[in-house]
Symmetry: C2
DNA sequence: TCCTGGCACTCGGGCAGGGCGAGTGCCAAA
DNA sequence: TTTGGCACTCGCCCTGCCCGAGTGCCAGGA
């Protein structure tokens, strides 16, 4: 168990390193923090901290930098979440209130987060699978071609073109549309499959049954389709603040950011409630081994419908970043609940 | 006027520099190209080319690199558009054919273009203002709150929530929906305003008239709204191949890419038909002064509904890039026409 | 037992100097 | 007009050197 003072030393190291981006030595530490002890004592503490794996030396005659384990301890026990200043809160409100539709909300959120944290922001669109259906619309493009439009309670719209096995009359279409909406309107996605199970059988004509089946298949497919978990990223220009060695660092990060799959998995690992911080090697994806990811769920009710977060260097201002992420998530949730 | 051979020398310089990324000297040139003359002659030609501003020396004892003006001449007079190989064409088809909806088409196009050119790809969504309306849908969220959904012939869907000045009955709603669709269905956006002008007057109830006006206003607003010109970018990881000095170069480019306004303006400058190549300082936006932009319109008919292109270093393989951009644009056009 | 000041040591960063070689410009001859 | 020859320039890279920040250890003191 580390003594109180050693924890204090670790905190000071993390803070200084985050600020200066340079390895911090014992003398500098005592000068910039009121530790009440001499550099020599700090050196002893540092030796212990290094032995325990919380800090490391880039080279023999340099100061110390925190390890992933050190940051972990810092986040878990030494740092709180820094609440935003009033002007910052006001800025969030002003900025998000102007949004006209879902795309706009997500877009603004991304820009806002990127600006507040000066890091890369990632915002997931409200998930289809946790939302409910507001309305289903069926349009005949041609007699044998339908368009299915699905509108969710979070304002998201999905559409699919369906080739029918047989021409489908306008009457049948209106019929299907009406029945579909009365059954699934307002229902959660998860409940839909059983609600429409017997729908084809209720149609007289065998051809119509086939078409109805096709439509339902497409609908269900749309509901579960995972690759449609969209997300938006922004603030990539902030990656240039990463460090000096940076072509090597930045490349895999940019690649990871383009791999929606990777990002979705990343956000998917977020715990249902509360904020998740993944530091360096805690990230499964190799390209993100020198970054930290701070993420949290957001939603219109008490329940999270999607996630958002930021990706930045492990050397980041955790309290500030966590504060910004949390504040933005809360307010986006409110916005969604209102619309 | 430059002699034939001097143009040939310029071409050789551009090709070598694009390949090696290093200043090219007279000796290397004669070795790698069959110019039929000695290094000394080439040196003389280079001196002339430099005087004319087509090439430059980074430092006194180095080889030459092309200037923007040199690339311009190369693109205009020395290089053709390199057609893609058959496997490449096949790859385009295979990759784009799997798309399920418009978002998917655009997403795949971006990835494809980025991969083919190994540069940053930018694809604009089919513009609303040049499309026509396939269907308008009106839903009552609450009695006094409507959702307007607009589906275009390019598969794009826009939605808006409308607060009605007065409750609007289900009958009136069905009525309005029907009239709206019969008037504007299949029409170009540009024609819509005059087609719906007299619609409010045809309703009996004064409150209904007010609501209809509101709906129409929202519809028209959606049609013209320029800020909704969305686009998608991809392949930013390719920026890391830019060069050695790169934090300085890459930053403004990333910033430019995040500024949708800048990008839209960039694409907006594309000539109606044919490919546009903007080299280095020809780009109005300062951050893109060391990049070239190759862009072209694409569309379902003969007519362009949107634009796409790539952003890369001025030192790029112009013939290959132009070939890829053109091929992708053509095929995306076809895909859109089919769906 | 813990803290402190002193001291010798290590090692990376930065600077200066020198050799190397690619590339140039010029010139005289073909 | 082209060519080979030649002297010159100058950036790159390697080497050696010094400097100083930072360390670990130790002996003395609270």
């Amino acid at each position: 168990m580390l003594s109180e003072r050693r924890l204090e030393v670790l905190r000071a190291i993390v803070q200084d390193y985050v600020g200066t981006e340079e390895p911090v030595g014992s003398k500098a530490l005592t000068e910039r923090h009121r530790l009440g002890v001499s550099p020599a004592t700090v050196r002893n503490d540092m030796a212990v901290l290094e032995e325990e794996g919380y800090i490391a030396q880039p080279h023999t005659s340099a100061g110390r930098i925190p390890t992933d384990k050190g940051y972990r301890l810092f986040v878990d026990r030494l740092a709180g979440v820094k609440p935003l200043s009033t002007p910052e809160r006001r800025a969030i409100h002003n900025f998000l209130d102007g949004a006209v539709d879902l795309d706009d909300v997500v877009g603004r959120t991304v820009r806002l987060l990127a600006q507040l944290t000066r890091q890369v922001a990632v915002v997931q669109y409200p998930s289809l699978t946790r939302s409910s259906i507001r309305h289903v619309e069926l349009l005949a493009l041609t007699p044998a071609r339908l368009m299915l439009v699905l509108i969710t309670d979070t304002g998201r719209v999905e559409q699919r073109v369906i080739d029918c096995p047989a021409p489908f009359g306008e009457t049948s279409l209106a019929d299907l549309r009406a029945r579909l909406n009365s059954r699934v309107g307002g229902r959660r996605f998860a409940d839909v499959p059983q609600l429409v199970q017997d729908l084809p059988e209720s149609f007289e004509e065998p051809e119509d049954r086939a078409t109805v089946s096709t439509v339902l298949a497409t609908l269900l497919e749309t509901l579960v389709e995972e690759h449609e978990e969209r997300l938006m990223i922004g603030g990539t220009a902030n990656l240039t603040r990463f460090g000096h060695d940076f072509p090597l660092t930045i490349r895999p990060v940019l690649e990871a950011l383009e791999e929606q799959v990777v990002l979705l998995k990343l956000l998917g690992e977020v715990k249902e409630s509360g904020m998740t911080v993944r530091i360096g090697h805690e990230n499964a994806y190799e390209g993100l081994n020198s970054t930290s990811v701070v993420s949290v769920g957001y939603g219109s009710g008490g329940e999270a419908v999607a996630k958002l977060g930021v990706v930045g260097p492990t050397r980041m201002d955790y309290p500030g970043t966590m504060g910004a992420v949390r504040a933005v998530a809360r307010y986006v949730g409110q916005i969604l609940a209102e619309s």
